[in-house]
């Protein structure tokens, strides 16, 4: 009895976190998991920012010349490096989400063990992505890759569904968890696929022809809806955590929902009407 796992894992985390200026204060006074929770939020915000930029850029596919002109600006080693660095918040957010779900729904309390795996798998993913970007001209069938990713994602989502659906009455919260399970494989998979051949991802004709495949349209539709739901739930959650004035909170949530509807429209137009 009295086994407080957060206190028992303190030394392992603190060695790492104490080395980071600005972070060590929170690690000492709130604990290492508190810092990890903030890192999860910040990585989420970075991903939301990129998502909006990504949707806006892809919406230029309606005029392929404009899209390729924009891509020629982004087609520099600097932007390639930024894209590579984006893998860090992406894989951290995904794997830390797994850690949270293992803690909350599967009674996994060994934080050291989970963080060890988070670090190892994250590093492996980033290494793999870097390798693909460096090799530069790998190819794989979009349909085969998409089907594999979708099958794995649906299995993960289904597994979590049967675990959590009857646990609480908060449907929105459960959907947030389920979209997380779906995106866990879809998004890192999508990023890997797009970097198998970095140059091809900047050619309008190739993207448009891929988006003409009905299967890929279904996959992208599920992805766009899941990612927007997950992002907006996360943002609403932050608002609900910190904005105490009811009217302001309500206004912010309404504004956010309108903003999301606009980006959902962009996403749907992109999925079904570009090709």
């Amino acid at each position: 009895m009295g086994l407080n796992t957060e206190k028992n894992t303190e030394p392992f985390h603190l060695q790492v976190l104490n080395a980071l200026p600005g972070v060590s204060y929170y690690a000492r006074t709130r604990g290492p998991s508190f810092v990890t929770a903030w890192a999860h939020r910040i990585s989420g915000l970075i991903l939301v920012g990129y998502l909006l930029f990504h949707l806006l850029t892809l919406s230029l596919l309606a005029q392929p010349e404009q899209f390729e002109a924009k891509m020629s600006i982004l087609d520099t080693p600097f932007f390639a490096l930024l894209e590579f660095l984006l893998a860090i918040p992406l894989i951290f957010h995904a794997l830390n989400g797994v850690r949270l779900m293992l803690y909350e729904h599967f009674t996994e309390r060994d934080n050291v063990f989970m963080l060890h795996w988070l670090g190892s798998l994250g590093f492996l993913y980033i290494l793999l992505l870097g390798l693909f970007m460096w090799m530069g001209s790998q190819t794989v069938s979009a349909l085969f890759f998409g089907m594999s990713v979708l099958a794995a994602s649906l299995l993960t989502t289904g597994f979590l569904f049967q675990k959590i659906w009857w646990t609480t009455k908060d449907v929105w919260w459960k959907l947030q968890r389920l979209t997380a399970a779906f995106l866990l494989i879809v998004l890192p998979g999508h990023m890997l696929f797009m970097h198998l051949n970095y140059a091809l991802g900047h050619q309008a004709g190739i993207i448009i022809s891929r988006m003409g495949l009905p299967f890929m349209q279904c996959l992208y539709l599920l992805t766009v809806v899941s990612v927007l739901y997950h992002a907006v739930y996360g943002l609403i959650s932050v608002i609900q955590d910190y904005v105490e004035k009811r009217l302001l909170r309500f206004g912010l949530i309404i504004g956010l929902l309108l903003f999301t509807i606009y980006f959902l429209f962009l996403g749907l137009r992109l999925t079904f009407f570009i090709a």
Binding site: E6, R30, G31, F34, T167, T168, K169, W173, Q240
Partner: protein, 237 residues
Amino acid sequence: MNTRQTLVLKIHRYSPENNQAWVQDYQLKVSGMLRFTDVLRKINQEQDPGLAWTSSCEHAQCGSCSAIVNGKPLLLCELLVKKAVERFKTTTFVLEPLTVAPVLRDLIVDLAQAYERVHQAKPFIIDPAGPPAEGDELRIQPQMMDHYVEATRCINCFCCAQACISRPGNFLGPNAMMANIVRMLDPKEQAKDERLDILSAGNGLARCHTARACSFVCPKEIDVAHFLALGKQGKMS
């Protein structure tokens, strides 16, 4: 060894009469074996009788002396000077009142307002089961009680609520949630559905993000986050 320490205490003060807040420095030489409540008493006796703070049992059982010391919420009656110097690696300490409720004066907060949130979580058996037909009393096996007895040590000191990643105005708080969950786990409780409604509300478990600061700061060393996770898992029997 009873070493003496020269401490500098920077105490956040507040006067409700003129609605003024300021930080006041106190310097004093004390034994390393004194607790921070003793240090504050010494300030009252020797330097400033007007410095306001609260304590009651001074045995870490009532939770009335909670405050923030160098950023960490804790019980002042539990904190030895010697340990504090070792832990924070300094002899200068910033003392602040909790922010889970409005400050009444200096280090005293209106705990009645903070308790309101605990009351919303109904920290009592709502609908107790009667005795079984074949016996005189409802017996709880020790193995079953082991699942939740740790949570019954909570003293509602609000250190967990202070450390939580969510603001107390929008979240009933880790201690309040645990008060609900511990009664969900209690076989005497029959109103499980009503309890689930409290957990599923907007100011309930949706505001918990498993940052686990509650477990990290808990003076009673309760793994609060573990019980909140049980609530999310729906493990209620």
